[in-house]
Symmetry: C2
Subunit: 368 residues, 2 copies
């Protein structure tokens, strides 16, 4: 699976997920949850006490972030440069927030100046931006954003589902207030859990809100207790996805053993190696600015004379390789190749290049 | 694990969950999702087209049920006879519904007359009741409730998390409009997915609502498409918990192979065998009316001179058996013994009785 996720699960994580179930309130599972918390703190580079995994997909974590930090009638600013911003805006509208959008073409990123204009104009309490925009293949630069938001008395919320572990991110240093990710990308665990963390500033806002969050399932008051973040004795809230916790802990452990710096370097190197190979095949990278290319998900323009579906189907049929077409604003325009965690290897790059070369020869429309 | 859930996972389901991951948009996973749909239709005894599994725990399915079927300002009536009714009322208040409660002591069930009085008085659009109240050990009789609700132009929503597969339920015949359950009880799959189904009447209400549901993650418009229930081509919505789908399918397949009637019979027989053994030990069953005892979760009064925590800890330490204390209104008053699916065997009953006998000798307060 070399699409934008889920990525393949390495044997060690597979084995962890296959361990016999234990109870959701046993001391052993609390220890595992504590390990997960430490693993997320490392991966996020944060010391936030309110750090845990949501019992759902990355999408569920996105809702958890907004459901807890935003109240009806409050103003939120959403940076839209692909599908994730659109989804975020949809969620905020459901909350009853006043939603403003800051829009860019897919394939581009936002500058600090553009964000500052938006903050000055709309005066939001919360600003959302996607770090790894997997629909367009862009890695949004984050430096300075947190400080900027705080100067405008606004919280910074970042989606790192497709980037965590593959692109440097420093939650505390970059002053990110809310950060979430997913289990099935660089962490190589099966989908079903989603790391999330809240800064002191974010916690203050969350725990002083006037209304209850719309969801009890992802209410941070409850989850904070269930995850042992509030220092009180743990009460039953819901039954967590126990086997997914086993896998997530193993994924986080593998990332910690490898080291974040090594993981970032590896993803960068293999992405550069892929770009070089793609250009040799005469293919064009969708993101023109090299500096903002997302190393975990590479977007390639669908070459003239080809249908993207013919190419992805050819790769699946003849090479058992999954790559994907576009999503949302990039639908029909690009092919997306994912190199995440365990899948980010030179051998996989070589394989996908051989397969693509074959596809370019076999899938031309005139030929059919 | 002989508590109120999760239950132990049999080797066959364990093996299914340990299969290598596949993509969330592969034809193979769609086939698996279709199988799950058929399995749920059988377990629920329904032909509803809108039948699927939520990517979260039973708690998440409870929210999905209310989030889709209830709009702000609408009136809902909640039968409260344990923790689940309380949770349901909390969720409805967050939605902004007008919430009325019909309250009974834990250990009792509602009569049709009591429900009718509530419907006549409050004129709700939706009535919620728990089938298997795992906090008190009560199985609520369901016959006639659907018809009654429909005469009052009200939808019937039933929680069967702790009862499905262990106690007869006939969604279509009993005119239940919304029914949900969990994966980790009688179905013996790991927690993380939750079956749910909507009648034609419920679908009409859901798809004609004026406001969007508060959650995008469990929005049935989206999920209906993702699960191939709407006849249109499937679009990406979120990344489902793929390995949990493997396990859930296997759990549903095992239930279908065994046959619902056999499963109901087995749960009943083993529960009766447990009751007999408990009474021989001098213990008292918490639910006095035999007819409404829940065969999947048996509640026993904490005997005088004992602390429930001493007994559960003793069983865990000396027998590696998990049983639980009370929950919500039954906290401190009862011990809860679960016999669900694979765990519902005479051998397990014998084991827990031997362990309890030992505990009664060792854990008396005067002894310590």
């Amino acid at each position: 699976m070399l699409g934008p996720g889920p990525s393949n699960v390495p044997p060690r994580i597979q084995a962890a997920g296959g361990r016999p179930l234990i109870g959701h309130m046993h001391p052993e599972i609390f220890q595992i949850m504590d390990d997960i918390k430490l693993g997320i703190q490392y991966a996020f580079q944060t010391r936030n006490s309110l750090t845990l995994a949501i019992s759902g997909s990355g999408h569920c974590a996105m809702e958890a972030a907004f459901f807890n930090s935003l109240e009806p009638g409050e103003t939120v600013l959403i940076a839209v440069k692909g599908i994730w911003g659109e989804r975020a805006a949809d969620i905020c509208e459901r909350i009853g927030a006043v939603v403003h959008r800051l829009v860019k073409s897919p394939g581009e990123s936002f500058t600090l100046e553009e964000v500052e204009q938006g903050l000055a104009k709309h005066k939001p309490v919360l600003f959302f931006i996607t770090h790894g925009e997997s629909s367009s293949g862009v890695a949004q630069p984050l430096d300075g954003l947190g400080n900027l938001c705080h100067r405008y008395d606004c919280l910074l919320l970042v989606d790192s589902v497709a980037s965590l572990g593959g692109v440097p991110i420093f939650m505390d240093q970059q002053e990110i207030d809310i950060l979430y990710s997913g289990s099935q990308k660089v962490l190589n665990a099966p989908p079903g859990t989603a790391p999330i963390s809240f800064s002191e500033k974010a916690q203050k806002k969350i725990f002083r809100r006037k209304t209850k969050p719309p969801s009890l399932y992802v209410d941070m008051g409850w989850l904070s207790n269930y995850w042992g973040c509030d220092g009180k004795s743990r009460m039953y809230h819901h039954t967590g996805p126990i086997t997914n916790f086993f896998s997530l802990r193993e994924g986080l452990a593998m990332l910690a053993e490898q080291g974040l710096e090594n993981s970032w370097k590896l993803h960068k190197e293999n992405a550069l190696y892929l770009y070089e190979g793609l250009e040799k095949l005469g293919l064009k990278l969708y993101v023109k600015d090299e500096a903002i290319r997302l190393p975990t998900v590479t977007t390639v323009e669908v070459p003239q004379g080809y249908e993207w579906k013919d190419i992805t189907a050819f790769l699946m049929k003849n090479y058992s390789i999954e790559i994907a077409g576009g999503l949302g604003p990039s639908a029909g325009k690009v092919l997306r190749i994912g190199l995440m965690g365990y899948n980010s290897t030179k051998a996989n790059v070589d394989l996908v290049l051989v397969a693509l070369k074959d596809a370019l020869q076999q899938c031309h429309k005139n030929k059919i």
